[in-house]
Structures are given as structure tokens and as C-alpha cells.
């Protein structure tokens, strides 16, 4: 079976019913995606399938075939730079134990890609599936707002520059 993860192709030899989570972790060796509950209740295993945040623990690997899978390792633009969301996570000093944060960041990335300025209610709705036992929720909310503002500024600057060039 061929999987495309973070724009890299991987050939894996597994039963087609195997959970995508364990294929990503054990066969492909990307351990940033975490196992939390196995029943889609905690969001530690969140990855994106074609940009949509899903629970990889409940997803059979066969349903990811032919789609682009994005994990926490694929969020940064390149090896030396962090994504604005990751940078905001450092600025706001969000992670404590850190175990749920891969899933949180991947979920936030999907949220902000589709909604550049989410309201508090929209943040709640998008993040309700990601549990944090260390209780970083108030900081995650701040981090989302900081990242959204910075992405907005970057995009406005780009638009202005583009405008000047016209």
C-alpha cells in the first residue's frame, strides 16, 4: 500500500484494516502523532487527510490511500523554520507535558487554514475533540488568537506588497 505523508511517499505492508495511527507511528516511524484513547475521544492522534483534521486511531489505513496525510512533522514550512502556529505555541509557553500538543497543533492548523479569524465559539467547536489533561486550554486559546493575528498580518503585508507591484 502506498501512503503520502507530508509530501513523501511511503510503501507499507500492513493489513488494510490497521489503524492509520499505528501505521504512521510504527511502520513509517513518525512518532509525533500520539496514541491517547483509541476510540476517537481525545484527539492526541489528530492528523489531516487532505487538510481535514481526523482521528487517525479510528481511521483504517486503507481509507487514507490516495490522500495527502499531514502530521505534526509536516506542519513546519521547512527543516529550519517553524510554522507561525508552532512559534505562537512557544511565545505563549503553552505545552506542559506536551503529549497532546501535536494533535492540538494539527487541529489548529486545519482550523486556521479554513477560517483565518475564528471566534471563541468557532474555536470551541473546532477544538472540542482535543483533550489536554494539563489544562492548557486557556493558553491554547491565546495561542490560536496570536497565530491567527500573525497569519493575518503576514497575509495583509503580502497583499499590500502584491498590490504595490501591480
Amino acid at each position: 500500500m502506498i501512503l503520502s505523508i507530508n509530501n513523501t511517499t511511503h510503501e507499507v505492508d500492513v493489513d488494510s484494516a490497521t489503524s492509520l495511527l499505528w501505521v504512521i507511528r510504527e511502520q513509517v516511524g513518525l512518532t509525533g502523532t500520539k496514541f491517547g484513547c483509541g476510540i476517537g475521544q481525545c484527539g492526541a492522534c489528530t492528523v489531516q487527510l487532505d487538510g481535514v483534521a481526523i482521528r487517525s486511531c479510528l481511521t483504517p489505513v486503507q481509507s487514507a490511500e490516495g490522500k495527502e496525510i499531514t502530521t505534526i512533522e509536516g506542519i513546519a514550512p521547512n527543516e529550519t523554520e517553524l510554522h507561525v502556529i508552532q512559534q505562537a505555541w512557544i511565545e505563549e509557553q503553552i505545552p506542559q507535558c506536551g503529549y497532546c500538543q501535536s494533535g492540538q497543533i494539527v487541529a489548529v492548523h486545519a482550523l486556521l487554514t479554513n477560517n483565518a479569524a475564528p471566534t471563541d465559539d468557532e474555536i470551541d467547536e473546532a477544538m472540542i475533540g482535543n483533550v489536554c489533561r494539563c489544562g492548557t486550554y486557556p493558553r491554547v486559546r491565546k495561542g490560536i488568537k496570536r497565530a491567527a493575528a500573525e497569519m493575518m498580518t503576514a497575509s495583509n503585508t503580502k497583499n499590500e506588497n502584491d498590490g504595490e507591484m501591480d
Partner: protein
Amino acid sequence: MGKWTRRAFITTGVLTGGALVLGVAIRPGNRAGKVKDMIAGEGDTVLNIWLKINADNTITVIVPHAEMGQGAHTTLPMMLADEMDADWKTVTMLEAPGNKEYANYALAKGFIMGGKEVPSILIGTVDGLFLTATKQMSLQVTGGSASVRCTGMHAMRVAGAAARAVLLEAAAEQWEVDPEDLVVKESYISHPESNRTGPFASFVEKAADLSQPAKPKLKSSEEFTIMGTSPPRFDIPAKVNGTATFGMDVVLPNMKYATIQASPVFGARVQPIDQEAIKGMPGVHKIVNLNGAVAVIADGYWQAKQALNALTIEYEKTDNDAVAQNDIYDRYLKDMDAAIADGKEEEDVKKGDVKNAFANANNVIEAEYRVPYLAHATMEPMNCTALVNSEGCELWVGSQNPLGFANSVAEVLDMDTENVIVHNQYLGGGFGRRAMPDVAVQAALIAKEVDYPVKLIWSREEDIRQDHYREANISRFKAALNDTGQITAWNNQFVFKHDPPEAPHIPYGVDHQYIHYAESTTHVPWGYWRSVDSSMHGFFTESFMDELAFNANKDPYEFRREHLANSPRFLKVLDMAAEKANWGESLPANWGRGISIHQSFGTIVAQVAEIEIIGDTVKVHRVVCAADPGFAFHPNGFTAQMESGIVYGLTAALYGEITIENGGVVQSNFHDYQLLRMNESPTIETYIINSNEWPGGAGEPSTPGIAPAVTNAIFNATGVRIRELPVKNHNLNAKPTLIG
């Protein structure tokens, strides 16, 4: 975080590759360092914290505590670096290996010097630790909110100050000047008069040869330059890009995976299982029957879990097969009554003449409270990777108690503890759960059966059903109020007592007190759960105080104030919380405010919760938290711990409940052991008071006070008094259950 190779530390000498490794020891025959007699005290035990000054003038601080999100890997090096006047930008850290050389004697010393009782979490698996100072000690525990207040205060700061002193002395000798004329700043020593400056590293060789004892003087808080600031935590960057290695993420050559199911009834034995049961399952290698549990080894977790699910496992009968939750409560009540009837109460606090005070009282109020069992539910399910061969055993695991793990594993494998090596990893949540070595023992026993490393991963179901639980408990109160609404007598009885010893004690001025408990028995395993006994007693005592305020017809905040007249430190914290929360200002209909104050692990925390009743549920909008930890060494980290403890305690208050049926746990995963989510999380405001008293903990003290702040707010909004947690089991629109 740097990595230790297997023997790296042991072979590190005083001077290797131009680096000074400074050991701080305070026992005769100081074995590694050049600094002696740093802390007076005969028969003192070893204080064994290390720092390394590298040839490039950078400094490595070695921390004997695990990082589980509480920031110990950053705050402890800050304490050392500040005393040393080091350049923080060039300071890095290494976690000490799980080795006896790193046993955390400073923890022991912290409690001995503080004149306090030792929290039993520090005792690990070693017996009688503190009874004889001469006994070999084996502490390297992360828990009891002890990192900063013990290791930090007794070891890190002293080590930093000692290093500074010995380097100053070396510089003075090298330049032939008076050490009094030297200035230390950001890892450089200078002699302004002669205009000379040199990095710490240039004095290392001389410092290593010094035989003079150093007498380090610690800074006063006004002199701090790093302590009390909030530099970014060292562990965070790796936690935003998936590179932080938790126990779950360890990968070894030829490693296979196992998962396990223990008997649903604690302690029941498993009937023999035939290896034939897994015949024909691809990628499945072996069944290991541990008697109390069955494990399957396979190429991957998924295959192991499918195979385990397919097995028919039968258990031997036990005496506990029919035990239900109510049987446990009934037994508690029976034992509590019997203790009183037989005069066998375990006395905790006895003050004044309670009997006489009640006899003369005309307003006596009684109430009984209950709390259920609670699981820890760390985000990272229990796991441990083990390799066992003729040389010994290696473990890769996130542990709050690496030496305890090594001891327990050595015992079951019948080998010397020296031959068990623990490679500690990041902890995906601890909360006390990762002080228990059960998963490491299982992993070692499974790995013993094969010649490759095995990573044992528990399912979430196993994690919820095979925890070591915060106990269910019952607390009964009786108090007398006089005509002016003063509490004249306080009688409180509950079951069991662990840590912290002051958990059921009240800060209030009550002349006649009798606080006592009964012993009882249960087959449900007990474990340290964030804030331990305070997680219950905060709810018990602060709920009852609220009931007394209501009966005295007084405002709950004012009522507490009146009883704290002789406790200025408490009063200041309470006032801060009330003021910041706009106590007394009116709220919309169906809204309520509740207040609480509780001291645990040396830190006083007051909280005001602001809630709204929506339908028959409660929405917690805002929590104001005021805390006096003595001194917050990393204020942002301290604030994060207050927030974290509040969300953890709020989760338990609203939803947390483990129930026993047929001898085992009913709940199994997050659908029936519900956790607080983003949309339910209140805004939390934290206000810190640095009273400069001896530092208290950060990781636990905010957990106890949130439940009573919320249930008191529910009473304020509805008149419904919640005497049994969790809140979810109550109809908040029910007819008020007022007492008195």
C-alpha cells in the same frame, strides 16, 4: 534535553576534556567534588547535585527530576545559575540518570530541615528511609511538589553558590588579588582595579585543585537576577514539532510490541492459556501469562491488541468478585462507627475540650460528604520498553520514580539494582501515576521471556481499569456556632490518611478541635493523585465552612475572614482573591460566586469561582486564583501550574468518578470517564503573592480548592448544596437541600 549514555556519568571525572564537573557533597570523604563542608550538620547525608563548566564557558546543570510539564528542567537550573551569577543564555541541562549516585538526598534534607513530615511519595520502595540518616537512601522522586522547595532550595542554590565561591577563590589565587575585590557577572570574573576579566572556564583547573572548604552565602531575594523571572522553558520547542521523545516513542533495534490485560477484579489470577490460541495470527508471536495479567507480543501494537481481544481469558474466583461501590461506603461507615464506639479513633488534631464545647452549644451543625475513586488518566497511556538479558535489564520509561522502578524490577527479576538501568523519558502526564512501577515490572517480566526488546503499551481501557486510584472517602463533620456566629467547636472524622499531613487541618481559629480518622480496608489499589489527600479535604472542609457561614447568616468570605484574624498570611491571600474577583458585586440571575482557601505542600491558594446554571448543568465562567508560594521562582511557570491544577481539579469536581461493580472498575475510556474540554474551560486569572516565606509547591496546591469554590458557587446560585462529588450526578434544579 541532553542524553546520557549508559556509563557516561559514572566515568566522568573531576576534570574531563577541560570541563569541571562539580559535585557538591556534604558527608565525610566527599567522593567527587572539591567543595566540602558547605552545609553544617553532623551526620548529614549527601547532597548530590552537579554542574559542569564546559571548556567553552557554557554551563550544564544536572537535574535529578523528571520533566512532566511542571518546568523543573528549567526552574532548577535557574536557581543554580542565579546563585552562580552565570550567563543564563549559556546554561543547558541534563536529566540525571536513574542511578544511586543521583539519589536525591536534598529531598530528604528538605523535610528534615523544614521540620516537616516526609511525604510518603518520597519514600519509594525503600523502607524506613528517614528513620535512620545513616541508611542508604534511594530517592530520585518527582512528586510531592518537592522539586523547587527541596532540591532547588537545598541543592541547586547551594551548588551554584558553592561553584561561584570556589571559582572566585581560584581567580583570586591566579591573579594574586583579594577575592573581596572581584566581581562576578554573567559567567565572567573581573578585577576592576587591574582591569582584568576572565571566563569561569579559565579558572576551572585551579578551582579543581582547591582544597579549601567553601562556605557559600545564598542571595537574598532582592539580589536575584534570574530567579523570579520567566525565561522560556527548555522543553517546549521539542513539544511543538513532534520531536520530544516520550516513553511511548522509544524505538529500539529489533523491538516488538506487547499489550496486556490484567484481571478486572484486582488481584484475581488468570487461568492458564494455551499458545495455540494465537496460532495463525500473522505477526503475533507469543502469549505471556503473568498470572495476574495476560500479555501478547506481536510485530505491532495493533496486532497485539487484536490478538489479545480474540483470547478467551478466564480468572480464578476471589473474595472480592461481588464487591460494589456501596459495599465499600458501607464498610467505611461501619469502621468509622466502630472506631468511635471502641475508642480506636486515629487522632490527628486534638485541641481544647471539644466534648465540653459541644455540651454547652445551642447551635450544632452536622454534615456528611463523599468523594468517589478517581483515575489519573494521563494523556500518555502507561507504557515501558524493556530489554532483559544475562547482563541485566534496561528500561525506557517516563518515570516519576526511576530508582523505585529499578528496585521493583530488580526484585522481580532477582538481580542487583545496579544491573537495572532506567532511561527516563519525557512523561506524558504524571499526576502521581508514574510514581507506581507496575508497568515497568510487567514489561520486564514479559521481556524476560524473549531475546529482543519489548515495548509494552497499555490500552486506555487498561489505564482506566488498572490504575492506583485516589480513594473514595467519607468525611463527617459536626461544629458548634455561638450567638455571634463564631465556630466554637469542630469535630471531623474521615477514613485513611496519607499526604500531605496537614490536608484535613483547618487554618481557622477554632478553640476546640477534634480531627480524627478510622482505618478501613478495600481491595482497590491506592495511589498518589495530584494533591493526594488535599484533593478531598479541600472539598470537605471548605464546603462545610460554607454551610457554617450560611447557618451563621454571614457572607462566606466575611465568615472566613473573621476566623482567619490570627492568620495574616491566609488573610492576605483570601483578600486578594475576593478583591480581584469583585466579591460582593451583583451577578445576573442564575449566576453564583463561591470562595475557598486551602494550604497544601506549603502554598496557600484562595479561589473564587463564578458560575452560571444553564438548564440543569453548571458552566464555570471564571476562576480567580490568589496564591502565596513563598516565592515564585518562575512566575509564568507557577501560573501555568495553577491553571493546570485548577483544570485537573475542576474535571474531577464536575465529572470524575470511578465506580466499583463486581469487584472491578465500571468505567473504561473517555466516553464514560469524562474529561473537561476546551469549551468548558473557564478563564483563569492567577495572582501571586511573594511573602518570602519558605517556598511551597506549584504542581498540586491549586487542585484542592476548585471543587468547593464551584460547589459553593452552585449553592450561591441555586441553594443546592452538593455534598457528594461529582457534580454531574446532581440535579441542580432540585429543591434546595438547606441545612440548619
